[in-house]
């Protein structure tokens, strides 16, 4: 046995080139498979670490809608059997600012929840007792991270912090930062009663139309969730029930993938499709590496055949030979797995930072995971090794000695299929990489608003009252051209309002997005007017005039918009004076919603500052100036001044990260298949050395030899291209269906991918062919 290992290692070392290609390809692809399986595992097991996760549900009143009224709790608690616990949760409307003593104030996040939150959801306490920590109003439970930001290494328990320069909250517990695969993501939580002080609203707890909360239910084991859902609908007042026909309870572990368009600050959602696409690419990389492996070892075994013959002649038994060959494959795979693990650990922090691929490294060390990966490797090595091993071992000894065993993969036809398969994968991945980039560019170029040279200054509580001062001092700075106030900023949620009106005798309840803006907003953003006029913010008569987008007209069937009245509940009615061309005020990946832009100065939350310059240095100086000014005006609330275009980009963080991961994986696949093709061309030329020699002796020129050697590979690329195009076309169309606004599949994508694949193939192959072609024929012939 020890001898066998020694022999295997010697034979691997004797062929450094092929062994390296094999090992590198296998280990990189195994690393990707490991990473992706860990990632998918953690994505698909979201929130399963809560002990009761199977019995916890969220109420989803309608499709893509998770808001419920607070008054639901007392009603359900009183009259519904089977609900063990009910937790209402909401986030704070504006990000909270905490200040401890005289330290710098800092911005964080805050949610309000019923006091038994920690009895339903499992968190680990670092300080204090979570079970009782939320029982008092104005008590605050914070995350390990926030505790460190606020108090450094000192204990946090019992300390008092000031919220928004006004309310005093006492830290009653600190929880350990939660597992990565949870929908919850918050740093501080307080009793729901605190809402009444921090965000007072008399109707919030009493009115059925104030849907500001998410409601989580813990049911007991025996009840039927559809039954419960039906009963919940019955508890609503009659007038609300109609809209709740879709109400259902969603299991905790399923919320993550079911709500990807939701924007609730303390909940994070996943994109199942992206996970699946990445997993698919990882599988493709594995296939490419396995094809490499089969091709290379097949050529390798060509040399082994003779040796096997000798071993048989001196008395080796067939099973011995088979076992030795399988062992060699297995050893290589195991080593590759080990290297793969190393790659995973080396790259995990980079991946977590640059892409969305986050997983816990402990998962890899769990016995289950190790067992699965080792059995997978065993299975793969047997699959790849068994056919040639059997063929070689069972062929006649004499034929072995004369090196005449033909393996299927050694016939040029079979090899062609393998190489073509690799090229199919490569071409499909190149196509997808181009497409993903094209889609992103498409989105960025078609937002429909100006993004350059604009700075956004969020208005904190201390600045809202000083808007005039702010505007004046901003305009006094160099390079500042214009300042407008608005409620709109990329990445910020827009309010949803509704209005009921008559169209053609039919009553329509229109739900739309809305924000306020100064008249200057239209100019700064470069919005295009298609009908009517913009309102003027200095005219008292224009106070309730609004501008709507095109989608608003389309969705509600309004044909004569100018002068159209939108009745409002307990507010003066609005009148449409103008219509603007549609622009993406939310992510370009979402359909454009009906929008109303109001002339409502009080609501403004951001100052948009247009700069005169595009010079980078000047921009930077102005940016610093503005920051200095805002820090002066708002000492207790940090102001996060940002460039508009960066805020737009931040909206696409997840897309950017997905694209990065996808591109990275694709490049791995392409490089690995290139290495495979390099190895194939190496063997192809080596097998034809004699032929090349004879042809040269008979007068063939170098370029003729080159053409002869490259012809096969070009043929394979062309075949692969023909196969890859329809597959990719179908898959690309499927992928584009995810986007509301999509780029087109133009012919040049395919042409470019084809040319690239051909270029890659020619480059790798020609290197070998040229070396073979310029060889001295005498040397080549003597070699045989």
């Amino acid at each position: 046995m020890r001898n066998t290992f020694k022999l295997i290692i010697r034979s691997l070392v004797r062929k450094p080139m092929t062994t390296t290609i094999n090992l590198l390809g296998l280990s990189v692809s195994l690393a990707l498979v490991l990473i992706l399986s860990a990632y998918s595992f953690s994505e698909f097991s979201t929130d399963k670490f809560h002990q009761n996760h199977e019995n916890i549900f969220i109420i989803q009143p309608g499709k893509g809608w998770l808001y419920t009224p607070a008054i639901l709790k007392p009603v359900i608690d009183n009259s519904l059997e089977g609900v063990e616990k009910l937790i209402r949760v909401r986030d704070k409307w504006k990000a909270p600012v905490y200040q401890f003593g005289q330290n710098n104030p800092l911005e964080s996040d805050l949610i309000f929840a019923d006091s038994d939150f920690f009895e339903v959801f499992d968190y680990k306490a670092l300080e204090g007792d979570l079970k009782t920590a939320l029982s008092e109003p104005m008590s605050l439970v914070i995350s390990e991270k926030l505790a460190r930001r606020l108090f450094g290494e000192k204990p946090a328990l019992g300390k008092t912090v000031k919220l928004d320069d006004k309310h005093l909250l006492t830290v009653s517990a600190v929880f350990k930062d939660q597992a990565l695969n949870s929908i919850f993501s918050f740093n501080s939580i307080t009793n729901i009663e605190t809402v009444k002080k921090v965000q007072p609203n008399p109707s919030d707890f009493t009115h059925w139309n104030y849907n500001n909360y998410q409601t989580f239910l813990q049911l007991n084991n025996h009840v039927n969730k559809t039954e419960i859902a039906k009963n919940i609908v019955k508890l609503f007042p009659e007038s609300n029930r109609e809209r709740l026909s879709q109400l259902k309870l969603v299991e905790l572990s399923k919320i993550y993938f079911a709500n990807r368009d939701q924007h609730i600050s303390y909940l994070k959602f996943g994109n199942k499709q992206n996970v699946i696409y990445l997993a698919l690419v990882a599988m493709l990389v594995l296939i490419v590496a396995l094809v490499n492996f089969i091709n290379i070892t097949a050529s390798h075994w060509h040399d082994k055949i003779k040796q096997t013959g000798v071993m048989k002649v001196i008395g080796a038994w067939r099973p011995t030979i088979i076992v030795q060959m399988l062992l060699e494959t297995f050893l290589l795979f195991t080593f590759a797995l080990f290297l793969g693990y190393c790659f995973v650990f080396l790259s995990s922090t980079y991946l977590a930072r640059k892409t969305e691929i986050v997983f816990s490294p402990e998962l890899f060390m769990s016995p289950g995971f190790l067992l699965i990966s080792i059995s997978l490797v065993t299975l793969l090595s047997i699959l790849c090794g068994i056919v040639p091993a059997l063929r070689i071992a069972y062929s006649a000894t004499l034929i072995n000695l004369k090196k005449k065993v033909t393996l299927k993969t050694q016939k040029s036809f079979g090899k062609g299929i393998m190489v073509s398969l690799q090229f199919v994968v490569t071409i499909v991945l190149i196509l997808f990489t181009i497409l993903v980039q094209k889609q992103v560019d498409y989105g960025n170029n078609n937002i429909g608003i100006n993004q350059e040279s604009i700075i956004g200054v969020p208005l904190t509580k201390q600045m809202v009252g000083k808007k005039d001062v702010l505007k004046e001092s901003l305009l006094a700075k160099a390079n500042v051209e214009e300042v407008v106030f608005t409620q709109y900023y990329p990445g910020k949620m827009n309010s949803g309002w509704s209005s009921t009106f008559q169209i053609n005798g039919e009553e329509i309840r229109a739900v739309f997005r809305t924000f306020s803006a100064d008249a200057g907003f239209f100019d700064i953003m470069g919005l295009e007017l298609t009908e009517g006029r913009f309102y003027h913010d200095h005219l008292e008569t224009d106070k309730y005039k609004v501008v709507v987008n095109h989608q608003f007209l389309k969705e509600f069937g309004i044909t004569e918009p100018i002068g159209f009245v939108l009745p409002q509940y307990r507010r003066p009615d609005y009148e449409i004076v103008g219509v603007v061309k549609d622009f993406h005020f939310k992510s370009v990946n979402e359909p454009i919603a009906p929008l109303v832009i109001r002339n409502d100065d009080i609501q403004s939350s951001v100052a948009l500052v247009r700069l005169k310059t595009e010079n980078f240095k000047a921009l930077k100086i102005t940016y610093e100036n503005i920051r200095g000014l805002t820090a002066e005006l708002s000492p207790s609330f940090p102001v996060n001044v940002t460039f508009f275009d960066q805020a737009v980009e931040a909206m696409y963080q997840s897309e950017i990260k997905f694209r990065r991961a996808f591109t990275m994986f694709s490049i791995c696949a392409i490089v690995i298949s290139c290495m495979g093709i390099l190895a194939m061309s190496l063997f192809a030329t080596r097998q034809r050395i004699k032929e090349i020699g004879i042809r040269k002796v008979n007068g063939a020129k170098v370029y003729e030899i080159l053409a002869m050697l490259n012809k096969d590979f070009i043929k394979w690329v062309v075949i692969a291209f023909v196969i890859a195009c329809p597959i990719a076309y179908y898959a690309m169309n499927k992928w584009l269906e995810n986007f509301a606004y999509k780029t087109t599949l133009s012919w040049w994508i395919f042409a470019l991918a084809g040319v690239l694949a051909l270029g890659i193939a020619l480059l790798t192959v020609s290197f070998q062919s040229y070396k073979a072609a310029i060889r001295n024929p005498v040397e080549a012939l003597r070699y045989e």
Binding site: R14, V313, I314, G315, T320, L398, L401
Partner: protein, 226 residues
């Protein structure tokens, strides 16, 4: 010891049958040293392969120690290879990943000889062939003659009764060839039965008997005269 009876070997193509061997009859007794000679394509190697159980005759019978060996099962064949015969090849056919020592040792491992017993057996042979200093080298590091010496050592380490040599000197300089032939002659004098195929008239004379083949027929079968 070995008896070939009416051995034919032919290949059928569409319209004709090509004979490689036709009606071969001869006997080899224990202790003989037979040289088989003949031009290229006369069937020498095929005959040797048939005797070595590497190839099947198309017709006729082969007896080893009066036991018919025809259509043997794999297991029985291996028994013969392990215990009864050793092979030497023109191209040496050493295993390149193994050192000299390991190459010689391998047949013993297959035979199931225990590690303790293997060591002295291999050491003896190395000593005998003056190769002790080279035991840890790989075949590529040796000259052709030395490689063939290892080939001979590997063939005889299992103490076979019959040694089959297919042009053992074909790739060697004449001086190295002579050395190998001296070794074979020595082995024969110690009692080993040897059948060698050769082109070289001079090396054929090392044997005790020369069989000349031509077009698959035995033309001449004469003892060597000194």
């Amino acid at each position: 010891m070995i008896h070939l009876k009416n051995i034919d070997k032919y290949y059928d193509s569409k319209f004709q049958r090509t004979f490689v061997l036709k009606g071969i009859n001869f006997e080899v007794n224990q202790g003989e040293f037979v040289s088989v000679m003949g031009p290229s394509g006369s069937g020498k190697s095929t005959m040797l392969n048939i005797i070595g159980l590497l190839d099947q005759p198309s017709a006729g019978e082969l007896f080893i120690f009066d036991e018919p060996v025809f259509n043997l099962k794999e297991k029985r064949k291996i028994e013969y290879h392990r215990n009864f015969m050793g092979f030497i090849f023109q191209a040496y056919h050493l295993i390149e990943e193994m050192t000299v020592y390991e190459n010689i040792e391998t047949p013993l491992i297959y035979k199931g000889v225990k590690s303790k017993e293997r060591k002295p057996m291999v050491a003896n042979l190395l000593d005998h062939f003056n190769m002790v200093a080279k035991k840890d080298l790989f075949p590529q590091q040796l000259s052709g003659g030395q490689q063939q010496l290892v080939g001979v050592a590997r063939a005889i380490v299992g103490k076979p009764k019959l040694l089959l040599a297919d042009e053992p000197t074909g790739n060697l300089h004449s001086s190295q060839g002579e050395m190998i032939m001296d070794v074979l002659k020595g082995l024969n004098e110690e009692g080993m039965t040897i059948i060698q195929v050769t082109h070289n008239e001079k090396f054929a004379q090392y044997g005790k008997r020369i069989i000349r083949l031509e077009d698959g027929l035995i033309r001449e079968d004469l003892p060597v005269q000194n």
